[in-house]
Symmetry: C2
Subunit: 333 residues, 2 copies
């Protein structure tokens, strides 16, 4: 590994332009106190030698890396790539580089990621991970890394949080449904290992059903369109209706497609609501009624909050994104 070996250093630039390190540094950092001529000369040598400052050395000396750590459970979901998109846009605008950390749904893994983030020396972090709890964030925070936690309400000195409002909306939709229909059995589709958001909405679902005195079911499904589709092709052989609450668009689409392909009518026989809606809710046919939070906005907001937090000027430490329900063709209401 000799990849960084022969970099041009500030020292060579100084020598080549007949000034000291300090002067070159001033030029690089656009500080005053440099004669236009000197500046020009130095800039010329910089260009000629193709000198690029080492971010590493700068960070070490300045005690500031302009790196932001981003922790996500996987890069493979549409709503997470939307989140990432929002984060990257603001990061670029504000001149930060993002370090990406992926946790993959296990507590142990998540903890080792926390260590990595600390070691990485980031100036701040945005964490979207269900495995970590208040203590873990406290630990991370104790290393003086300001954090914005997404989907987890943490109250602490150097931590800001963004939360999502799905439960209230879901309960409202369910009650509305119960009023008009007392035939279809409500079914919640539980995806294994999908974190607290799912758990919380599932609990809300159960509460709503029990309050309305409706018999409900919880199904375990795989987090895969193909397998869920296959499962429901089987299911619809002897169940000819239902009201389904799915975690993701792809799960919801699996049910809708399985129902349609089994000769059932959506939404007359089968109704499906998707919890985490994306633009695909609008593309599938029938279109999917879904709840939606603009994850790109969430990402952007997280970055803005983090920047304020790093500057000690974040006033409102908690921000709640309320989901929006859009009735489409997969439900009657």
């Amino acid at each position: 590994m000799d990849n960084l070996k022969e970099r041009v250093t500030i020292y060579e630039v100084a020598k080549a332009s007949g000034v000291s390190l300090a002067t070159v540094s001033r030029v690089i950092n656009n500080q005053g106190n440099v004669t236009p001529q000197t500046r020009q000369r130095v800039e010329a040598t910089i260009a000629r030698l193709g000198y690029k400052p080492s971010g590493l050395a700068q960070a070490l000396a300045k005690n500031k890396s302009t790196n932001i750590g981003v922790v996500i459970p996987s890069a493979n979901y549409v709503y997470i790539s939307n989140l990432l998109h929002g984060i990257t846009e603001v990061a670029k605008e504000k001149g930060f580089v993002l370090s990406l950390f992926v946790t993959s749904h296990s507590k142990k893994d998540a903890l080792s990621v926390v260590d990595k983030v600390i070691t990485s020396h980031v100036d701040g972090a945005i964490v979207f991970d269900d495995e970590l709890d208040a203590d873990d964030f406290e630990k991370l925070s104790s290393y003086y890394v300001p954090i914005i936690v997404i989907n987890n309400n943490i109250q602490s000195e150097r931590i800001g949080s963004i939360t999502f409002g799905y439960e209230h909306n879901l309960v409202r939709i369910l009650n509305n449904h119960f009023e008009k229909d007392n035939v279809k059995r409500p079914v919640f589709l539980h995806v294994h290992n999908c974190g607290q958001l799912l758990t919380r909405t599932e609990a809300a679902f159960v509460r709503a059903c029990e309050a309305a005195n409706r018999e409900y079911r919880i199904f375990n499904v795989d987090d895969s369109y193909t397998r869920t589709y296959a499962d429901f092709i089987g299911y619809f052989k002897d169940h000819r209706n239902g009201y389904f609450v799915a975690y993701r668009d792809s799960i919801a689409a699996a049910i809708v497609n399985a129902a349609t392909d089994s000769g059932l009518k959506v939404p007359q026989d089968v109704e499906v609501v998707s919890l985490i809606g994306t633009k695909y809710a609008n593309i599938t046919r029938p279109t999917l009624s879904s709840m939606h939070i603009n994850m790109s906005d969430v990402g952007a907001r997280a970055m803005y909050m983090l920047i304020e937090l790093m500057n000690h000027e974040l006033k409102q430490k908690t921000y709640k994104f309320e989901s929006e329900y859009t009735k489409r063709d997969s439900t009657k209401e």
Copy 2:
């Protein structure tokens, strides 16, 4: 900004455990030549003080950062998030941290990203960007950063490339179509600013049409489901058939849905092929015939190639991923 100020340093660990810096360093790096007792003592202090080495200082001293730069045009497309997923999985397995750089479709932007990558002091980079050309890569490479270029065949000492095979497949499909059908006019949907891959396949489309002596059209569409859908609702008012080649699933879906919603039959009246297929090709109804390359595999392969390149042991510097065509319900063939 005092976020990194009060970090525990190796020096404090040394003092607290009554040894020298060097010994602590040896313990951290799991080097031999340390008495079990000493090691234990040091490890205890490390745990007690909550010491985490500074990746920055380590990188500077070792001339090696274990950071990989990843350059992408946007985080907002499904196939790019798939790519990212493949990269992250291997990166995690091999202990690399990823630095994410987003270029957003402009040459100037792309160049400034190259500078940032150099400054970032990454050990290597994976670049998926259409704006950059051989010279730009040569420049990046001249800073001793090994690169894997995706979707651009670059031949150079410290550069490896991964290319995509869409054209051959597209021509085959078109010819096949021309044989069976000489009514539907072939139409290529040009998305503005979508890079060389689109340009190349478009050229292949034109060649195939001309070779078959078929009249064709190139349409400009927005890179947006909603707008393309609206455009085609208009279009299908006075055009009642067509054979469309779309760049992405979402564009293809827009046409299929617009056709269906205009009372046209897919694939009898309107046929649509999607170039860059994703799992959504299977979810929409009718399903979309599409070409497909598993981008997650591409990402993983890119990381493996990069690691070999960094170790000077990459033999085959170019790897081509051939697309796979899957006929689904949006075409007859």
